[in-house]
Every structure is written in C-alpha cells, then in structure tokens.
C-alpha cells in the first residue's frame, strides 16, 4: 500500500493508482513478471498524466494544501543540502533561544552566507521543539541579531520563509511581538549586503514579511504568501470558517499571483507532483536559482544594495 498520509484529499485518484502499482510490484513472482511489467508501465504512465493534469492547474486552495504538506522540504532540508560547514547560531542574547527560527553561517558554493529560516519540524517531537514554525519575539530578535552580524562581516543573507504566522500568545504579546517584527523588517532595509528571501512553503502575514524585506523575493512554484490565512479571512469576511476555498481564491496568494503583482521576482519551478514528492530535486534546483540571484547581487556596491531594496519596495504597489 502507498503511504496514504502523503496524499492530499484531491490526490485520491493518484493514491489509488500508486497503490495498485505497488501491489503489482510486491506480489510479482518471476513467471508473472513479464505481464505485470507491462501493466505497471501503463499504470505509471497514467499516474504521470494524472499528476500533470492535477499539478498544472492546482486551485489556490489546493496550493495552500501543497504549501503546507508535511513532507515538503523545510529550512533544515535546504541547509543540509546546500550549505557546507553549517554553524548554527543560537539565541537573541536578550531573553532566549527560539528554534522556530534556525540560523547560522555556512558556505554556499564556497561563499560564506548567513542563512535564517523558519522551521516547522517534521514529526511531533521536532514540531514542538521548533514551536510549529511560529516564531516568538526572541526568534525575530535572534533573526535581527544574525542580520546585524552578517552585515558587520559583509556576508550575504539568505532567508527561508515558512510559517503559518508569528506566534499568537501571551508570552509573545508581553515580550513585544509587534516591536520584534517591526524591528526585523527595519533591519532588513539597513543591510548593505545581498539579501535574498525565499518563500519555500507558507508565507504567513507579518510573521513572514519580517524575514522578507530583501533585494530579491523568490517563491517556490506551489508556495503561498498572504496577508492572512484563508481560514482567518473566511471567518472574518465570510463569517464562515469553511469558506476557505473562496477566501484562498479571493486573496490571490499564489506565487503566480504575486509574480503578477510585482511582489515576487522569480518563481522557482517544482517537479511535477510538487516539492514533497521530489525533495532533493526541488532543493537542488532552488539552490541554483538562489545562486544565480546571489551572483547578480554581489556585483552591487553596499550602498547600492540598500538603495535597490528601498526602491524595490517603494515602487511596489504604486501605479506604474
């Protein structure tokens, strides 16, 4: 049986095909192999076609589901695959260490970089440890500290955005969640080094933009970036928490929408079937795209990098 947990609701037909293929493969004895091989090949072709049909026209809500898929590569996966000699750095040196944000120095194709990413975790234990990828004020202050450090040593910054949003809770409020996010946004604008933000999964509102006032904003093909979750929007504007599909469409939160609005510079293609099916391939390709942008930005002077960022955001949303 195919592992049902990796299939999303709308992938039921793909799940059925995959299950059948696996059944055939596992019960295969040598005498029957010839016939089965033909059948398996046929079914695999069908699956491929179905994946293509599904993934080339995902609805906004389906994209939300793909963006949140538990098997999607997370920040740590990108770091492990792309960064050599990664030196994780901890703490905001004010209050504590928040593992909802992982960050540190390492070599990216030989170039020292500072990576700052939101990490959701992959099983219950790690999800709890990483605060479900919802940073607290100390997380944002840690991010800010790492940006300052990178800027001080003229090291480019790569941020990986993947959060449902900043942590909403008493500790967050009493330690100044609003101020922490605002200061992180501001810090991004102060950087005189290349700063690239990549939305790898879910870009949830203020908690996401805190790590995305960058020179380049890239988005994975099936990632989302939104001012509010479809659930939140549905319950406020439709007064009906189940109106999530309508809300997802109305919010225009897909990478393709954001590219049209001029908010996103480049969409990073995912293999057919999504990043969660082809994790290594996705991460490697994302690395190539990030490297391309980093190479371009390295040509700019420190002052021009700051100016480039300001002009980009000031032009954004103005009438052309």
């Amino acid at each position: 049986m195919a592992d049902k947990t990796i299939y999303l609701d709308f992938e039921e037909p793909i799940y059925k095909l995959d299950t059948k293929i696996q059944e055939l493969k596992s019960c295969c004895d040598d005498n029957l192999a010839k016939d089965f091989n033909k059948e398996i090949a046929n079914l695999e072709k069908k699956t491929q076609k179905l994946l293509e049909e599904t993934y080339t026209k995902l609805t906004p809500w389906q994209k939300v589901c793909v963006a949140r898929h538990a098997n999607r590569p997370h920040s740590i996966d990108y770091i492990n695959a792309l960064i050599e000699n990664f030196m994780p750095l901890a703490g905001d040196k004010l209050f504590g260490e928040d593992e909802a944000i992982v960050g540190g120095l390492g070599f990216f194709n030989g170039q020292a970089v500072m990576v700052i990413g939101q990490e959701k975790g992959h099983d219950l234990e790690s999800r709890i440890r990483h605060g479900f990828g919802m940073p607290k004020p100390e997380g944002y202050r840690k991010a800010k500290r790492l940006m300052e450090l990178a800027n001080h040593f003229n090291i480019p910054i790569i941020s990986l955005v993947d959060t449902a949003g900043a942590f909403p809770g008493i500790e967050g409020e009493e330690r100044g969640q609003a101020e922490a996010i605002a200061s992180c946004i501001m810090e991004g604008f102060k950087m005189e080094v290349p700063y690239i933000a990549v939305v790898i999964g879910e870009g949830g509102s203020g908690g996401a933009i805190a790590l995305a006032t960058a020179n380049r904003i890239l988005m994975l093909e099936h990632s989302i970036y939104s001012v509010i979750s479809p659930e939140g929007c549905a319950s406020i504007l439709w007064r009906d928490g189940s109106a999530v599909k309508k809300a997802a469409t109305a919010l225009h939160l897909t990478a393709q929408d954001l590219h049209k609005f001029g908010v996103v510079d480049e969409i990073i293609r995912e293999p057919l079937g999504g990043a969660h099916r082809f994790r290594d391939e996705t991460v490697k390709h994302a690395g190539d795209v990030i490297w391309k942008h980093l190479t371009e930005l390295k040509k700019l002077s420190p002052a021009d990098l700051a100016k480039d960022r300001e002009e980009k955001f000031l032009a954004m949303s103005r009438i052309a």
Partner: protein
C-alpha cells in the same frame, strides 16, 4: 536619497473650518455607561468626564487639538490603485470603500496635515478608525510614505497617531507590503535625524502595530488603549485559558517596556511640544 526622484510632491490644501457632526446629542460612555451631553464631551476632548475613558477622536478634531491655533493644511491624499485584487466576499470591496467614503468624508483611513506645534513645523498623520477599521492598504501605506517624505523635505518631525485593526485584507499581499513600505517611511526620518513620534490610540493592532507604530523614536500611548499584535480572541482560542487582567492595554505595554509613556489626551499637546523642544535642541560639537 534617490528614491525621491520619482516622488510626486503632495499639494497642500488649507483645511476649511468645516462643522463636524452636531454636538447637541447625548453619547453613552462605553466604559461606565454614563450619558454625556455632546458639547460637554467635545469640550473634554472626547474623554469621559466620569471615568476618564478615551473615546475615538476623529482626525479633524485630533488636528485641531494638536496644531497651534487650530491651523493646518492637509497633504493631498495619494493616488493609488483602487481595489487591486477585484476583491469580493459577501459584499464587494468597492462598495465598502464607497460607503466608508460617504460616511467619513475622507478618501481612506489615513490623513496627514502640516502645521505648527509650539512654533515647530510638524507633519501629523492620523488614522481614521471609522474607515474600514482604520485598516492599512495601499492608500494608507502610500499616505504614510508621502507624509514622511514631506517631513524630510521640510526638515520637520513626523507624528503619527494610530488607530487600526491591522492590514486591509481586501488588498491581499499588497496590504501586507505596506508594513515594509511604512517602515521604510520611518527609516527616511531616522536617516535624516528627524524625530518620529508614534502616538498609539485605541486600538492599534496587527500589521500596523507590527510596523511603523512600534518604531517611534518616542512611543506614547493614550490611557487604556488596546495595543496588540495578535487578537485576544485568537489567543484565547489557542491557549483555552483566561487572559490576564488588563492584557494588551497601554498600561500593560508600559509595564512590559513597550511604550515610553502614557499620556492623557488633555496633556498630549503640551507633552508633544516639550518633546519637540527637547529633540530639536541639539548641541554642536566643540562649542
């Protein structure tokens, strides 16, 4: 300062001495339920004379209360793309905008004016909570960017009086981007060593609190104002427990080190003038 190059200078228009809604009505204090005669309330700057509750103060009244001799000129409202997402929920967004404009007589939820305070030239921007909950979309963001720009050009301080439920979600990602753009507006003042004072009034929440509202050189809050990042209802649902008394109120924020001072509306003008006197009274090295 290259970003100034494509900048369209907002025109000033002298504020007419329009008459607000008649004050000969009775209002009920939302905190102590006392019935207060409109003229009495207006005279008391919309602070309940019985319990001191600070009611919402409309922009025009705020300007009159703060500027010298009640004299000021409006900065022209910026032109922005209307309804960029063509947004529809149960109602369409354009009709919401239309009725908000009819109700408030303002273009959007932010208005800025230029005038003097204690003799100092100053730009004051006020959020209009009656306009779709003071929410921040393109018009508010661009209004703040241009107000900051105007202050930098005139080399005067900026005071922003906030009142907002957060981002204007009907403008989607473009409303989220205003968190970055308004932060950039504040940065222009900082880069030019011009004071930016944030006056947080009830309520200041979400994307507004998590951007320019919390970046003041000095942060003032009105008494009892709700100042929050996450909504209390969301937090309560998440933790399934009661929230501490006074949670997310101005006094709570001051206790936790997030605002400099809490100033009653009666003292606000005087305190702001003192701050402007102090921040403007710099020394020259070696003198």
């Amino acid at each position: 300062m290259n970003w100034l190059l494509d900048y369209v200078r907002p025109k000033l228009s002298v504020a007419k001495t329009e008459k607000d809604v008649p004050d000969n009505l009775w209002d009920k204090c939302p905190q102590c339920d006392a019935m207060i005669y409109g003229q009495e309330l207006a005279k008391n700057l919309y602070v309940c004379p019985h319990c001191g509750y600070h009611m919402y103060l409309r922009p025009r009244k705020r300007f009159r209360m703060l500027f010298d001799d009640e004299e000021y000129s409006y900065l022209e409202a910026p032109k922005v793309k209307e309804d960029p997402l063509n947004f529809k929920d149960t109602k369409d967004y354009r009709s919401k905008l239309k009725s908000a404009r009819e109700k408030t007589k303002f273009d959007d939820a932010f208005v800025a004016a230029f005038g003097k305070m204690g003799g100092h030239g100053v730009v004051i921007g006020v959020m209009n909570f009656n306009f779709i909950g003071g929410s921040m979309g393109l018009a508010v963001g661009e209004g703040i960017v241009q107000a900051a720009q105007f202050a930098v050009e005139r080399k005067v301080p900026l005071i922003l009086v906030t009142a907002s439920g957060g981002a204007r979600m009907q403008e989607g990602i473009l409303s989220l981007m205003q968190m970055a753009r308004t932060t950039l507006a504040v940065k222009q003042l900082k880069d030019n060593h011009l004071p930016y004072i944030a006056v947080l009034t009830n309520p200041t929440t979400g994307g507004v609190s998590a951007s320019f509202a919390m970046l003041g050189d000095i942060t003032i809050a009105e008494p009892d104002a709700l100042i929050a990042f996450a909504g209390a209802r969301v937090i309560k649902e998440t933790i399934k427990a009661d929230l501490p008394a006074g949670f997310q109120k101005a006094e709570y924020l001051k206790k936790h080190g997030m605002v400099d001072m809490i100033v009653s509306r009666h003292d606000l003008r005087e305190k702001l003038i003192t701050l402007l006197n102090l921040l403007g009274n710099t020394y020259t090295k070696g003198e």
